[in-house]
């Protein structure tokens, strides 16, 4: 074993240790909640979108209920489903989007809610009650909601975009970004062609694909995370995206605007739901009620610039936020919006068409 004292070998092992240390370090942030617990105060495990985490609100809940909240985050509905489907995850409350709440409900992954424990479920915006994915309001309560539209730079795009067709305008070649989301991108093309964004007919999906392939040379990037930055940096002047990030970009640059085209598009809501495997369902429902309470919901919407499902929040928000169509779409727009639904087997057609789009 004398060679272990060779300084070069030592250096080598030191470096090896550095590499593995850093690799392990980057893995450890997704620690599972089922790890050792002293279990003195009851603990609530909250699984949510990374940008929804607000440590101030968590601390306030912990203080007033004498509990501990452990937060873990996901970045897509599919990630949420994959993790919850593995079984005992230990999470109590999760935040699936509309269609995913429907899927999770049908798969038996969500617990039935006791609405008497969630009095604020009576305060929902009228258009957010009895939604297609949970018509009896058994499994999920809308939390935050909004639309998908076009964020644009009004200094360069001088006419307000009234149609999705503006994203096919060669004038803006190389200055357009699209969401990197197959259902949203196809949904837009389908609406532009006058179809439902939940179309399952392969011929209609092919038609939308052709339109999108025509558009591709004009597209700078397909991104779901960077479009607000790209709008601000001037890399793009038209961005297909969610209202919230565009509204946040508006606060930094007044030439950025938001438009919802005539053809209509996606309306979405992220819902609060209790997992069927939760060990602490009562506390979970109290937590949901807390998040929906007027003050907390107001604080959340002010920070994220997503509209609150609690209808009282609208009137308490500053006019600048309330009247921003990127946050609260006008009522006449709502009738043109469509909820995204699971397309079952047709997902394969979307998948194939999306792959083809990305190969061109």
């Amino acid at each position: 074993m004398t060679h272990l004292h060779n300084p070069r070998i030592k250096v080598f092992f030191f470096l090896l240790w550095c590499v593995f240390g850093s690799l392990l370090g980057s893995c450890s942030n997704s620690s599972s909640p089922s790890e050792s617990e002293e279990a003195v105060p009851p603990t609530l495990y909250y699984y949510t979108w990374s940008d929804y985490v607000d440590s101030e609100i968590m601390a306030a809940f912990e203080a007033s209920y004498g509990v501990r909240v452990v937060v873990d985050t996901f970045s897509s509905n599919e990630e949420l489903l994959a993790k919850v489907q593995t079984g005992m995850t230990g999470y109590d409350v999760a935040v699936p989007s509309d269609f995913m709440a429907g899927i999770m409900g049908r798969l038996g992954l969500l617990a039935e809610l006791d609405l008497s424990r969630i009095p604020h479920s009576q305060d929902l915006e009228p258009h957010l009650t009895h939604l297609p994915f949970d018509p009896t309001q058994k499994f999920a309560i809308p939390y935050l909601w909004g639309t998908v539209g076009i964020g644009y730079n009004a200094e360069i795009v001088t006419e307000v975009p009234t149609s999705w067709d503006v994203l096919w305008d060669p004038q803006y070649s190389g200055r357009i970004s699209m969401l990197n989301d197959q259902r949203e991108v196809f949904g837009l093309a389908l609406r532009a062609l006058g179809h439902s964004l939940n179309s399952r007919d392969p011929r209609i999906i092919q038609e939308a694909k052709k339109r999108l392939i025509q558009q591709k040379p004009l597209v700078k990037a397909y991104t779901s995370e960077l479009y607000d930055h790209l709008l601000l940096s001037g890399d793009v002047v038209l961005a297909h995206g969610w209202g919230g990030p565009v509204a946040r970009a508006m606060q930094e640059d007044s030439s950025i605007r938001y438009a919802i085209p005539q053809e209509g598009g996606t309306i979405w809501t992220d819902c609060l739901a209790v997992l069927a495997s939760s060990q602490n369902k009562t506390l979970a429902m109290e937590f949901i009620n807390y998040l929906l309470s007027d003050q907390v919901a107001l604080q959340t919407s002010t920070r994220l610039l997503f509209a609150s499902a609690n209808r009282h929040v609208r009137h308490q928000l500053p006019a600048k936020i309330r009247d921003n169509i990127a946050v609260y779409p006008p009522d006449e727009v709502l009738s043109r919006m469509e909820w995204m639904e699971d397309v079952h087997e047709a997902i394969r057609d979307y998948d194939r068409a999306w792959t083809e789009l990305k190969v061109h």
Partner: protein, 286 residues
């Protein structure tokens, strides 16, 4: 071949062998079997895996689209490997032949990027390459370019990201290989009137071959399956095999097809490794 059952081998080596085998079995072959199993199953209605056996997922691989995607990924991975070798060799030679004090410093510099998350480092390239980023500001300031160049979201950015990300994996094995070459061999070459070029060509490069092979595999394989780099630096424009696998698992919820793709990727890598090891080791390897 090691004669495991011969009595001449110390006991500790046998334990090491069985320990390593057990480790491989538990953490490599068993998970691989699960992937194989899933690739032969069907997609559930809402995603997930239905245990109905089918070859359908492998049939879908015959799609010419898959050919294009595999080919594109192979080109990018080959390019990244070659450029890493070309940049990595002089760097590795310098580190290997430095005095011990300098060597530690240089090695640490090679390793420092590992202390930051790969994702963060890739995001940093976005800030550097975008229209109002540092690279364009620099080009315009020096009058090389009057308009900002379109650097971000291009094939160039993807290749750059891959080379940047995996360069240390080429450099480290090369350092080890070059260190093993006795400096006396180089002196002998010079004594025999070899030029610097001839010395490298006939002495250092051939003897560094194990380093190139190890480094090549360490760069090529992750580049082939990369998905963060093509997505962030390529703007999600061009589908690569890694992006496609990620899409099947996390977007389309089609685990069986994703598993079949993973197997195809692994198969491609294995075949290439077999070809490379054949040509580079001759008959010295099984």
């Amino acid at each position: 071949m090691i004669h495991l059952f011969s009595h001449s081998l110390p006991l500790s080596v046998k334990y090491l062998f069985w320990g390593a085998s057990f480790f491989l079995l538990l953490f490599f072959f068993l998970p691989l079997l699960v992937v194989l199993g899933v690739s032969l199953a069907s997609r559930g209605l809402y995603g997930g895996v239905e245990w109905i056996a089918t070859l359908d997922n492998y049939r879908r691989l015959a799609d010419p689209l898959m050919g294009i995607i595999f080919f594109r990924s192979l080109i990018f991975a080959s390019l990244a490997t070659i450029v890493c070798a070309v940049i990595g060799f002089p760097l590795a030679y310098m580190v290997a032949r430095a005095s011990p004090r300098w060597q530690l410093l240089l090695l640490t510099l090679v390793m420092i990027p590992f202390w930051t998350n790969f994702l963060v480092r890739t995001y940093a390239w976005i800030l550097l390459l975008r229209a109002d980023g540092l690279v364009n500001a620099f080009l315009i300031w020096f009058g090389i370019q009057s308009e900002p160049l379109s650097l971000l979201f291009t094939d160039f950015a993807v290749a750059l990201g891959l080379i940047y990300g995996y360069l240390p994996f080429m450099v480290l094995p090369l350092i080890v290989a070059i260190e093993r070459i006795s400096p006396h061999l180089e002196e002998a070459a010079y004594d025999l009137y070899a030029s610097v070029g001839a010395m490298f060509r006939h002495v250092v490069l051939p003897l560094s071959k194990p380093g190139f092979v190890a480094g090549g595999v360490l760069v090529f394989i992750p580049s082939l399956g990369a998905f963060i780099t093509p997505y962030l630096l390529g703007g999600g424009q061009k589908m690569m095999i890694g992006t496609l696998i990620q899409q099947e698992f996390l977007v389309s919820r089609d685990w069986p097809f994703g598993s079949a793709l993973s197997f195809a990727l692994m198969g491609t890598a294995l075949i290439l490794w077999f070809l490379v090891s054949r040509t580079s080791f001759g008959k010295s390897l099984p």
